[in-house]
Amino acid sequence: MNRHVTTCALFALLFTAAIARGQDIVIIANPSVQISQISGAQLRKIFTGVRSRFDDGTRAVPVLLTGGPAHEVFLSKHIGDTAEEFQTRWRKLVFTGQGSMPRQFTSETALLSSVAATPGAIGYVSRPPEGNAVKVLSVVP
């Protein structure tokens, strides 16, 4: 019985890891955002608190997932951080009075709703969203 549980857990772990490795991330934004593509460098600056505006001058409001494969893939692929490093980066701003932590959501559904309702919001999900409540941004080098 124990051996069976262990085997199942191992398969689940390998399956999750495979999803995480192969997973792509879709960058989404509120329809009020005027741009349709964003450079990787600008995306990184917005999500690390270095910049608070898009290239067109409008305010950028980054929103995050609290954790999970999509969050980790986004951080690894677009920010170059682990979840702990990313957390530390924002805590530096928070604990020195230089910034506030971006809003975080436990599910992609909640994140999508927030991006759809917040002017200037930018976030990420694991698959292209249905409907036109949010727009998809392409990331260019």
């Binding site: 460098a41 270095v50 505006r53 682990t82 530096k92 928070v94 604990f95 020195t96 009075g97 506030s100």
Partner: protein, 378 residues
């Protein structure tokens, strides 16, 4: 009377604003940590470390609220106890209003953190770096209060230099700095018989300029600040003319590897007057360190640094005028909230980290120190 009336009007105005505001974006964060130190010789940081000491506790809680797209207000309350230093009072670490016009111009006012070097602003936030103790030649934990914060204002900004040239970040401040009487310097003043009822203070101004490479791996910067101090009690006074301090630094990160280096010069020329006798206490501090840390596995970071400090205004061959510290360190993050650190120090010289009151039988020139900390942040 006039000041009280102004305070009352301000309070009523702020309460009204607060009541009329959506508090859904209010953020509360905090951290707390506990340390343990044991040393082979000497008592370190005013603790009885030769027997092992747990007298090292620190914590803070912050509340921030974005009033609108450009204005944010916040406060952080902080307490610490390191041996005989600090505690038990809770103090305001920072409290400010932050008005950010755009990325290249913002304004903060209130009690602000002083921009100086790589780690000055985060000196009292243990969870933000891998080390149990930052290089003590530059960031002496017993005297950090003097550099941490000022009452005043600052302008700051971030200038983009184009896609291939990175960013230039600037920060300039002006205000009133102070020397906390419950810090290491305060204890030294008490050893001279000076026990000021209020913290000595004076004009404090300076700035920081740093360049970040386009992908953010390399940071190069320089900081400067001027600090003057004056204090008086019945038995004497402290006068420190404006002291101009400089810092130069570099940081490079590449994947799991981080390299840092700093050089600071801190020429301080305080003059004490005790019962009519004038005592100059010249300190021309020159300090530098190189450090490296590497993320060995998920959650586990290891690192090493060498910290060097000398007082150039005295005989630098004497152990009382230098401090040379080799350090090996490790940190383990159990999850995004909890962590533990273990660190060994091989210390030569007695210029940094010691005081006479906790070492009544004198000091040996060398000591080995083991420091451990556990903590959490949210």
């Amino acid at each position: 009377m006039y000041r009280r009336a102004c305070m009352l009007v301000l309070l009523i105005f702020c309460s009204h604003r607060l009541l009329g505001q959506d508090l859904s974006d209010l953020q509360i964060h905090g951290y707390a940590n506990q340390g343990f130190v044991i040393s082979s010789n000497n008592n370190f940081l005013s603790m009885s470390t030769s027997k092992g000491s747990f007298q090292w506790t620190e914590g803070a809680i912050s509340v921030t609220d974005p009033i609108n797209d450009k204005l944010r207000v916040g406060i952080q309350l902080h307490m610490y106890q390191i041996g005989q230093l600090g505690g038990p009072d809770v103090e305001v670490d920072w409290a400010l209003g932050d008005y950010k016009v755009n990325d290249w111009f913002g304004l903060r006012a209130g009690k602000i953190k002083i921009p100086m070097g790589l780690f000055n602003k985060v000196q009292d936030v243990d969870s933000l770096y891998p080390w149990a103790l930052l290089p003590q030649g530059i960031y002496p934990i017993e005297n950090r209060e003097m550099n941490l914060a000022a009452l005043g204002g600052e302008v700051y900004g971030n200038l983009s230099l184009g896609k291939h040239h990175g960013n230039l970040l600037y920060d300039a401040f002006l205000g009133e700095g102070y020397l906390a009487m419950n810090s290491g310097y305060g204890r030294q003043l008490q050893e001279y018989g000076l026990n000021f009822p209020t913290d000595p203070s004076g004009r404090n101004f300076g700035g920081d300029l740093r360049w970040m490479s386009p992908k953010g791996e390399l940071t190069l910067g320089a900081s400067a600040q001027s600090q003057a101090l004056d204090g008086q009690d019945a038995s004497g006074s402290l006068h420190m003319p404006p002291a101009l301090m400089f810092a130069y630094y570099a940081q490079w990160t590449h994947g799991k590897l981080e390299l840092d280096a700093e050089y600071w010069r801190t020429p301080l020329y305080p003059v004490l007057t005790v019962n009519g006798v004038t005592v100059p206490v010249p300190i021309d501090g020159r300090a530098w360190y190189p450090m490296v840390d590497y993320r060995l596995a998920k959650g586990l970071t290891v690192g090493t640094y060498y910290s060097h400090w000398v007082n150039k205004s005295e005989d630098t061959s004497q152990p009382a005028n230098y401090s040379k510290d080799w350090v090996l360190s490790s940190r383990y993050d159990f999850n995004q909230y909890f962590y533990a650190k273990l660190e060994g120090h091989f210390l030569h010289g007695i210029a940094v980290g010691y005081d006479a009151q906790t070492n009544p039988n004198g000091l040996k020139d060398n000591a080995s120190i083991l420091a451990a900390r556990i903590g959490f942040a949210f």
